[in-house]
Symmetry: C2
Subunit: 173 residues, 2 copies
């Protein structure tokens, strides 16, 4: 994930989601040193500090988090740990990009075929242009019932992960 600004609750919510659905990692990406320090303080509190003995469920969740400088560093991390090049999939609230794929493609053509997948979300105003250029594909946007779709990044991440995992586990449409 790329962040315009990292909030405490983004990290908490998405770490817990990542552990519940056993994602490989949840990368918090920011080149800004103060933001990374802030994120690192939260993660350290729950994995090493007082929080780690106070609440083991939070500790397990926060062990999924890696704080990292750039999208390239995420790719290197995945290559080093899995030995494979990840497919980078961008997200956006509207169809502003080409190369749109759906959740079935992610499961059938990528995950089930053994490729690691890195799904990238931006906070605030969506994905930075530089990050978008590095994406191989883009996920179809989460559509609202009418034409309103202004979900928080936390909600968008939650829905995307649930849809992919359910498709992978239960072969839903």
């Amino acid at each position: 994930m790329g962040f315009t600004s990292i909030t405490n609750l983004d990290i908490h919510d998405i770490a817990r989601l990542s552990k519940t659905f056993e994602l490989g990692k949840f990368f918090v990406v920011s080149p800004v040193e103060s933001q990374k320090e802030h994120a690192r303080a939260i993660v350290d509190h729950w994995t090493k500090g007082f929080g780690s003995t106070y609440n083991q469920f939070r500790r397990e969740a926060f062990e999924k988090v890696e704080i990292i400088d750039t999208l390239e560093d995420c790719v290197s991390y995945i290559k080093n740990t899995t030995g494979k090049e990840p497919v980078i999939i961008g997200t956006a609230a509207k169809k502003i990009f080409n190369k749109i794929i759906d959740y079935s493609d992610v499961c059938d053509k990528m995950l089930s075929a053994g490729f690691p997948v890195l799904v990238v979300f931006g906070t605030g105003w969506g994905l930075h242009e530089e990050a978008a250029e590095k994406c191989h594909y883009f996920l179809e946007p989460i559509e609202g019932v009418l034409d309103y779709n202004h979900l928080s990044v936390r909600s968008a991440v939650t829905i995307t992960v649930d849809r992919i995992v359910r498709k992978l586990l239960y072969k839903e449409r």
Copy 2:
């Protein structure tokens, strides 16, 4: 929804979700006056105050929010606006209740049959016993891939709404 404590972000995230998926209403339920005042200040800012002209998307989202004292008041509100008694459906992270139903039941037997549905979530330690006693049914818990399922209430609400709406719109399993 029942809240042990109402956070700003709970209201923001779930209001935007409610508007995106065109739910009837998002009820913030608390009998505690200071909590209700806090919630009302947030909602008024975005529907009547500076925020309403500053960001129309937030205004539309916050128009879905009703701040209300008790679960009975939600039921009365729904009866008054729809002329029908709602089915009250509780939620929990574990199967601690009887009368468990799944997402298909909610769609096929209730929503598609014209019954309004009130899905109740608790923050903190789950549903209060008094609220649980008023539920006609309970939704199957959101299961993790292993046995860890410690989602935030924001994530649990998001997943539940997305699953129900997708089933309703696309007849997914």
